[in-house]
Amino acid sequence: MKSMRYREAVREAIAEEMERDSRVFLMGEEVAQYQGAYKVSEGLLERFGEKRIIDTPITEAGFAGIGIGAAIVGLRPIIEFMTWNFSAVAFDQLLNNAAKLRQMSGGQLSVPIVFRGPNGSARQVGSQHSHSMEHFYVHVPGLKVVAPATPADAKGMLKAAIRDDDPVLFLESETLYSVKGDVPEGDYVVPFGKGRIAREGKDCTLISYSRMVHVCLEAAEALAAKGIDCEVIDLRSLRPLDEEILVQSISKTHRAVVAYEGWPYGGVGAEVVDRIQRLAFDELDAPILRVTTLDVPMPYNAKLEQHVIPQADRVIAAVEAVTYRRD
C-alpha cells in the first residue's frame, strides 16, 4: 500500500497505462504546458512528450470528435474535459457517435476511448459549472459510466477504463482531488459493475458514489453516536450497476437512503430506488428516501450553495425518517 492523493492516483493510472501501451495518449485543454487545470497531468508532458500529452484548441465538440476518430483507428485516447460541465457542448459526439458507432456499424467499428474530468459541484462556480453530468450519460446504452470516491478506486478504475474496448466516462471531483488514501501497489485494476461496502452496518443502507460517499461516512459516524448503525455502499460504477450489493445490504438493513449530487428528478438515485423496489420489495420496512441537490440551478453565494448541495445533516435526517426516529 502507498498513500497518495486522488489526483496522484489518477495521474499514476494514466502514466502506468501509457508506459504499458503505446496507443494510449492524453488530450484536452491545458493538459500539457499548463500541467492540467487541476494538476492531474503534472509532469506528464516532460515524461511522455508532446506527441502523447496534447494541448488542444478550446472546443470540446472538436476534441471529442478528434478522439473518437483516433479511437476508430485503434489508438486509446484519454480525453480530458476541464470539467464535465463542458462536455455539454460535445454531447452529440458522446450520445450519437461514441455510444453508437459500434452498434450502427454492425460491429465493424469500435471506440475504445476514455472521457474524464471533474464532475459535480466544486466551490462557488455558479449554475453553469456545477452540474452532475452522470445523470444525462447513464441513460445511454453503449456508454459505461464510473465515479470512484477513493484514490484506490480512482487508480484501479481508470486503468480498467483505459483497457476497456468501449467508451468509458470517468467522473472525478474537484473536491476529491486532494483526498488521501491507500492505494495497492503493482498493476491494480478494479473491474466495473462492482460496488464497495465503505462501512458495514445493520440498521440502514446509505447508497452513494463519488464525493457524497465521504458525506455519507460522516453522517454514519454521527448516526452511530445516536445508536443508528449505517452501512455505506459506494456504487463506484453507475453503468453497469451492481444490483447484488444493493439486494444483499437491503436484506440485512431493510431501509435505505440514496444520497448523491444532482437534481431529484430522475437520475441515478431514481434508478437505484427502482432496482431495490423491484428486486427486494419484501425486504423493505420503509420507503426509500433520496437526498439530492435541491431542484434549482446552483447559486453562487457560498451560504446558499451549501444549502443546495446535499450535506450530512440532510442525510442524517433522512436516515432518522426511514428508521422512524423522526416524523
Binding site: F25, K51, T56, P57, T59, A61, G62, F63, A64, G65, I66, G67, I68, G69, A70, A71, I72, V73, G74, L75, P77, V89, D92, Q93, N96, N97, L101, R102, Q103, M104, S105, G106, G107, Q108, L109, S110, P141, G142, K144, D164, D165, D166, G193, P240
Partner: protein, 381 residues
C-alpha cells in the same frame, strides 16, 4: 488558392449560378460540351471509360432506389443525382490505403471503393445481411473492408472524426489520407470549424470535400454563408481552399489527386469546394418543387456531369449508343438480381439487436434478450 472578396450587404455572395464554374479560380478541364479546356484530360481513355461507367451505374442505382421508395419497398433513399462526378472523381483520386469519411450522398463512392452492390441494397432493406445489421437508416452504411467509415445523420460529426482519424494514423505511421465529405450546409456546423481548425493546427493528412450542390434541404447557399465562396473558409484555418467544377470529372480527379498527394507528403490538409448541383430533392422525404421552381432546372441539366463525359467519350473513343444500351442493360440485370436477393433475405434475428451495444454482452442485456425471446411479457409490464 482563392482570394476572398467580401461584398457589401447582409445577404451572401455565394448564390449558386450555372456560370459559377467559369470563374477564374475554378479548376476546369472538361467543358459542358464535352471538349477539353486545355487539351489535356489528365486521365487516360480506359480510365475515362471506367469513370463514366461508374457514374452511369451510380445514377441508375440512384434512380432505382428512388423508385423502390416510391413503391414502398424501402423506407428512404438519399442520393447523388447530378453530383456523380464529384463523388466518383474524388474517390478515384484516393489510394487503396486511404479512408473515406462519408456524408450521406456518397454511396457511389463506397461502391467504387469495393462495397458490394448486394451489401448496399441489403442496407437499403435493413435485412439480415446488411453490414449495419438492420440498425441504420437506408444509406447509412459502414464498410470497413473498403476503408469506408460510418454515415452519421447529425450533420458534420464525421469532420472532426475524420481529422482525428488521419492525425492518429500519422502518429501510428500509417501512410493514409482521410477524405472527408460534407455538403455546403455542413460548413455552418460546429464540427466544420472544429475539424478544419484542428486539421490546420495539427497539419493532418486530410482532404475535405465540400460538395457545394446549392442547397441544404431548402436553404440556398446564399442563406448559408455570407462568404464569397466556401473555399475561402479554409483561409481562416491556414488551409488552402480550392474550387473545382464538380460536374467536370477530370477537374475533380485533378484537384483531388493534388490534394491527396499534398496530404500524403505531409504538407497538410486541403479544402476542396466542388461546384456541383443537387438535381433531386434533399432525399425521398423532400419535395424540392415547394421551394425550387422547375424552370430553374433546365440550365443545370445542360451542365450534367454524365452528359458531358459521354460527349467527350463519343468524340474521343467512339462510345456508341449500342455500348450505352448494353451497359445500362448490364446494370439493370445486376440490380434485378441484388434487389430480388435483398427482398428474399430475412430480417435480422430479434436477438441480434442486443449485439454490438458493447464489445461484450453485459448481463442486463442478456436478461433483456432472454425475456424478449421467452415470448409475451408478463402482465403489468
Amino acid at each position: 488558392m482563392t482570394t476572398a472578396t467580401i461584398e457589401e450587404g447582409a445577404t451572401g455572395t455565394a448564390r449558386r449560378e450555372p456560370d459559377d464554374a467559369l470563374a477564374a479560380d475554378v479548376v476546369r478541364v472538361l467543358a459542358p460540351d464535352g471538349t477539353l479546356v486545355d487539351n489535356d484530360a489528365g486521365v487516360g481513355d480506359d480510365e475515362a471509360v471506367a469513370l463514366y461507367r461508374a457514374m452511369v451505374r451510380t445514377r441508375l442505382i440512384d434512380e432505382r432506389a428512388v423508385m423502390l421508395q416510391r413503391q414502398g419497398r424501402i423506407g428512404f433513399h438519399i442520393g447523388s443525382l447530378g453530383e456523380e462526378a464529384t463523388v466518383i472523381g474524388t474517390v478515384h483520386a484516393m489510394r487503396e490505403s486511404d479512408w473515406m469519411f462519408p456524408c450521406y450522398r456518397e454511396f457511389g463512392g463506397a461502391l467504387y471503393r469495393g462495397m458490394p452492390l448486394q451489401r448496399y441494397f441489403d442496407n437499403l432493406y435493413g435485412n439480415a445481411n446488411d453490414p449495419a445489421k438492420g440498425r441504420q437508416m437506408p444509406d447509412h452504411w459502414t464498410y470497413r473492408q473498403a476503408k469506408v467509415g460510418s454515415v452519421s445523420s447529425p450533420i458534420g460529426t464525421q469532420i472532426t472524426q475524420g481529422v482525428g482519424f488521419a492525425w492518429a494514423a500519422r502518429m501510428r505511421k500509417d501512410p493514409l489520407v482521410a477524405m472527408v465529405y460534407f455538403g455546403d450546409g455542413a460548413t455552418s456546423s460546429n464540427e466544420f470549424h472544429n475539424g478544419l481548425n484542428f486539421a490546420g493546427v495539427f497539419k493532418t493528412p486530410n482532404v475535405f470535400v465540400c460538395r457545394n450542390n446549392g442547397w441544404a434541404i431548402s436553404v440556398p447557399t446564399e442563406r448559408q454563408t455570407a462568404s464569397a465562396t466556401f473555399a475561402v473558409k479554409g483561409i481562416a484555418y491556414g488551409i488552402p481552399g480550392v474550387r473545382c467544377d464538380g460536374n467536370d470529372i477530370f477537374a475533380v480527379v485533378k484537384t483531388a489527386r493534388e490534394a491527396v498527394l499534398r496530404a500524403s507528403r505531409g504538407e497538410g490538409p486541403t479544402l476542396i469546394e466542388a461546384l456541383t448541383y443537387r438535381m433531386s430533392g434533399h432525399s425521398t422525404s423532400d419535395d424540392a418543387s415547394r421551394y425550387r421552381p422547375e424552370e430553374q432546372m433546365s440550365a443545370w441539366t445542360t451542365l450534367d456531369p454524365i452528359h458531358r463525359l459521354r460527349r467527350y467519350l463519343e468524340a474521343r473513343v467512339g462510345w456508341t449508343e449500342g455500348q450505352q444500351a448494353a451497359f445500362e442493360a448490364e446494370v439493370a440485370g445486376e440490380l434485378k438480381l441484388v434487389i430480388e436477393t435483398a427482398e428474399k433475405v430475412t430480417l435480422p434475428a430479434l436477438e441480434t439487436m442486443f449485439d454490438d451495444v458493447y464489445a461484450t454482452l453485459p448481463w442486463h442485456l442478456q436478461e433483456q434478450r432472454a425475456e424478449l425471446l421467452a415470448g409475451p411479457r408478463a402482465k403489468g409490464h
